[in-house]
């Protein structure tokens, strides 16, 4: 296609937006409402995901080494743990460090434990992290069976429940977003279909003078694109302002916990990009779906 023709299609599509004022308004509104829903949901989901990731990263297996194990036995155990495919890192934490950590964690009450420094009752520990946090339980069970392992701890119940919760909320989120997206495509394709029914005559005349299907499709395709992009502007502005405010309000309250909201920059730029892309996709898809039907003249 010639560049001149692309220019013509672009001009035609823009003209058509203003000619079909009410239909344009209806389509843009449909995209706007959907993208606000998708956007809000997406922001919440991404933040939940971030919390989940932080928690996931904290999940570790603590392998208490049998006191009877010699240095060689410990090295052997370490290499055996490392040989498990799911294992990412194995860090040795001597019992002296374990005691210090314990003392620090307990604060004033912990000072009493300092007495044990001479005769430390704790075990040396291997801190094991897995490549995928969800493999924690499986890996822990494998490690339990190894020689010179006194005890394996990984907060069994909590980890299991947490993973289930995260998995479920992610699935629900993905399903909801896909559902909203498809609803938007349906809405747009219907609105555009009404515009096209009104312009069936135009399409018929175009075909009569020898326009190819792609020549006819292009202006509608571009029109869908503009509708989608126009529809994405308001959600982007609204969600950005809301998130900016929410971030300022909520984040200080979360200080001291391990939970943090995703920072405005770059998160909001990413969200804006995604919303713009979704708007464009919804618009184009909707228009292509509905114009196809009317090309068989």
């Amino acid at each position: 296609m010639k560049i001149r023709t692309i220019g013509r299609h672009a001009r035609e599509s823009l003209k058509s937006l203003s000619r079909n004022g009410w239909m344009t308004f209806a389509s843009v509104s449909a995209v706007t409402v959907t993208l606000i829903l998708v956007g809000v949901f997406f922001v919440i989901m991404m933040n939940l995901n971030r919390v989940a990731q932080t928690v996931e990263e904290d999940v570790q297996i603590r392998v208490h080494i049998d006191v009877a194990a010699s240095k060689q036995d410990q090295d052997l155990l370490k290499s055996e743990i490392q040989a498990i495919p799911e294992v990412k890192t194995v860090t040795f934490s001597p019992k002296e460090k374990e005691l210090n950590d314990l003392v620090k964690r307990m604060g004033d009450e912990g000072k009493a434990f300092k007495l044990y420094k001479q005769d430390n009752p704790l075990n040396d520990v291997f801190i094991v992290k897995t490549v995928h946090p969800t493999d924690t339980m499986k890996t822990a069970k494998k490690i339990e069976k190894l020689k010179f392992v006194a005890k394996v701890k990984y907060g069994q119940d909590k980890v299991e429940k947490l993973f289930k919760f995260i998995k479920a909320s992610r699935n629900v989120g993905v399903v909801l977003i896909i559902g909203l997206f498809l609803t938007a495509v349906f809405l747009i394709s219907n609105t555009i279909k009404i515009t096209i029914i009104a312009r069936r005559r135009e399409i018929k005349i175009m075909k009569l003078v020898g326009a190819t299907n792609s020549f006819i499709r292009w202006p509608f395709f571009l029109e869908g694109l503009w509708l989608g992009i126009l529809g994405a502007i308001l959600p982007i502005v609204l969600i950005s302002i809301a998130y900016y405010r929410a971030y300022d309000y909520i984040n200080p309250k979360l200080a001291g916990t391990f939970i943090k909201l995703l920072p405005f920059d770059p998160f909001m730029y990413q969200v804006s990009g995604i919303l713009l892309l979704m708007g464009a996709l919804i618009g184009v898809w909707g228009s292509v779906m509905s114009v196809r039907k009317f090309l068989k003249v």
Partner: protein, 228 residues
């Protein structure tokens, strides 16, 4: 030029519109298609510009069988044919100039050529001075002249008209017919379905009468009329 051999057309609703048509129309001819309503005139016209395909038989247009023309080739085929309708089929949101230029934009002609050619044909139909007006600001006759201008702007070899004067008063009808004659005199084949007895009997040309999907009469310099 146009040749139909044993053409049958049966619509999905069971109506048989054409029932064994055999006809040959030569380059440069002016042909009237006459017949009562529902005789198959419009189907005959639609087959020529390939809006419909025959149920059986062949339609040769300069040697190309339209019955077997692939859908992808249809737009290119139509660029060689001008079509004029009773209801003009103009785009109400485009100006006179744009309505005519449209047919050239579709084939991606050079802008300079489009401008020159559109003004030429608007001059031919006598509407050069109204190029910037919208169709609904013009009379029926003027709108039909724009439609004719659009049909010939591509310099087609054939112009097909389906009751082009059906909505016009007698005076305007003659203006339109003069333009058609002029187009035909320049060598373009003209096929026109009509109910207008005066035109047929005054401008004596070849008359093909269709009734119940069959050709009942085919005469050079014929008269209007069919058996019933």
């Amino acid at each position: 030029m146009i040749e139909m051999q044993d053409v049958y057309k049966k619509y999905p609703n069971g109506v048989t519109a054409l029932n064994g048509i055999n006809v040959r129309i030569n380059q440069g001819e002016f042909v009237y298609i006459v017949g009562p309503s529902g005789a198959g005139k419009s189907t005959f016209i639609k087959l020529i510009y390939r809006e419909e395909v025959p149920t059986s038989g062949t339609i040769l247009m300069n040697g190309v069988n339209l019955a077997k023309l692939r859908p992808k080739k249809v737009p290119h085929y139509r660029r060689n044919i001008g079509v004029v309708f009773q209801d003009y089929k103009l785009l109400p949101t485009l100006t006179v100039y744009e309505n005519v230029a449209f047919a050239l934009e579709v084939i991606e002609a050079q802008p300079k050529y489009i401008k020159k050619r559109v003004m030429e044909v608007l001059d031919l139909v006598g509407l050069k001075h109204k190029a910037r007006m919208l169709p609904n600001e013009l009379s029926g006759g003027e709108q039909q002249r724009i439609s004719i201008a659009r049909s010939i702007v591509n310099s087609p070899k054939v112009v097909i008209a389906d009751e082009p004067t059906g909505n016009l008063d007698p005076e305007t009808t003659w203006e339109i017919m003069k333009i058609f004659e002029e187009i035909n005199n320049r060598g373009t084949t003209l096929v026109m379905a009509t109910h207008n007895r005066d035109i047929v009997n005054t401008l004596k040309r070849r008359v093909i009468a269709i009734e119940s999907g069959k050709i009942v009469r085919d005469e050079q310099r014929g008269e209007y009329g069919y058996e019933n």
